[in-house]
Symmetry: C2
Subunit: 292 residues, 2 copies
């Protein structure tokens, strides 16, 4: 793979035969693991792996409460695992039990309850798989919002937090529910630099970072190290900031902590990497727009 | 300008001295009009225009109810217009009275009331400007959601609808409130092509167009020509579709009508232009990411 990564988990289903062909081709130059949740895909995956002379590692994804992708835990997951294990050039390696939406539940007790249910489903499935002679070598899932819960379960042997390296505003809100009132050991590292373009009235400032500069689907951004300021709404090219003490003036610069880092990164071609106030590097966002 | 456009309205404030310098430089090769809402910017605009030997046409933007940018209508707007008119190489050409958020009010009576108020403010300001000897040659504003209201006022001589060429899902919802229950004379022309990547349960299908493929800030997309399907939520790489009749199967293709066209276009490098089922052209999205 570009960039020298030699071990890739595609933590998702790939169903399109053309994409599956590409996936199998990539498996010639890297170790590739992919998820599956539908018996109809087994043959396509297997044929592509045979065609390219590779073995694809396959995780059976279970729906552990998010009601998104995934077969039902228990018997349906075991059935699918059996099909994978029996297919040429596919290796059944385990299960994916990823509960994305649970990570954004702000109430700690509710969040824990959702993950406890997910862990129970994954555990039950693992037991049935072992009884069927299909050892789930990998049990994977979890993310920045709940990795501590899955991690402490003793069941998962791979966790998938990624957003923690940037720590967006929403995960910081989740993290702050854990008692210490801060983002804990994770610090913000992704910022959108913006300028005040209008200071039209007392209490209100307008910045030039709107919907084209950061994603608000998981809530609004915070203004870094400025608890006195509140970002209250975004339109395409405008951000409205409540500035009750009227400290802002035209062309002041602010660093926004995006509400959601993933779709925000997707808006940019480059990261500007800053250390101690100096630009040290420009990193390309190579995966932006790679949706075809 | 690239693409051969020779008359450009920057329907927004430009406050940063570096951006203002660039704006004045562009005015050498195209007719450029820009908005202003702050006396502090007059000198910077004027100096840049003098430096580049150009005249910049300037609109005074009034806050006509959106509480975003804009000076207050009436006397404050007249004061700012006087400053613009007196500044070297700036020409006061009129007012911008654009009420963006009113265009997304679903209730027709409320929408009309908001725009009637905006029109009243613009009219009052125009009267005062004329009394001060400052003819507002241009009175501009309006957009796809309310262009008919501003257009019928007899006051505006320039309207700014743009989204109508694509007609996103939210403007279609607004348009449908006008009585005929359809998007009227405007038809959908912007689509995100997506595939079903998982059909994990009865009533539910998962497509591969999530937050990285379309913007949901103004509501969820609709599925084009499939009123039986309902797009119910998006995550980064997934879209959840309610498919109560279970008509969808793996790898079925759907055309999504994005909830909001502007930030959706901003996600892509190319438009794929299709007529009668054939790709006729690829158009670059040249303005994507031009936020610096």
């Amino acid at each position: 793979m570009r960039g020298g990564v030699t071990d890739v988990l595609v933590a998702n289903e790939v169903a399109d035969p053309k994409k599956i062909d590409r996936l199998a081709r990539l498996a010639k130059s890297a170790h590739v693991t992919v998820c599956i949740d539908d018996p109809a895909v087994v043959a396509t995956l297997s044929e592509a792996a045979v065609r390219h002379g590779v073995t694809l590692d396959v995780l059976v994804e279970i729906d552990c409460g998010a009601r998104r992708c995934g077969v039902l835990p228990g018997a349906p997951a075991v059935e699918l695992a059996k099909m994978v294990a029996a297919a040429p050039n596919l290796a059944f390696v385990g299960i994916q039990a990823y509960h994305g939406s649970a990570q954004h539940i702000y109430d700690p007790a509710e969040r824990r309850a959702a993950i406890d249910t997910a862990i129970g489903m994954a555990r039950e499935t693992a037991v049935l798989l072992r009884e069927a002679g299909l050892e789930p070598k990998i049990i994977t899932g979890a993310g920045t919002g709940t990795h501590n819960l899955e991690g402490a379960s003793g069941l998962y042997n791979e966790i998938q937090p990624g957003s923690y390296i940037f720590m967006d505003a929403d995960y910081a809100r989740v993290r702050a529910t854990e008692g210490n009132g801060t983002v804990g050991s994770f610090e913000h590292a992704l910022f959108v630099l913006t300028s005040i373009m209008s200071k039209p009235a007392s209490g209100r400032a307008i910045c030039d970072a709107g919907l084209k500069a950061h994603s608000i689907d998981s809530g609004l951004p915070t203004v870094f190290e400025r608890p006195d300021l509140k970002f209250v709404s975004a339109s395409d090219e405008h951000g409205k900031i409540e500035d009750l003490q009227d400290t802002l003036k035209l062309n002041d610069r602010l660093s926004l902590v995006p509400g959601h880092c993933d779709p925000t990164c997707n808006l940019y071609d480059w990261y500007v990497c800053i250390r101690n106030g100096h630009v040290e590097a420009l990193w390309p966002v190579t995966a932006r727009g790679k949706l075809y």
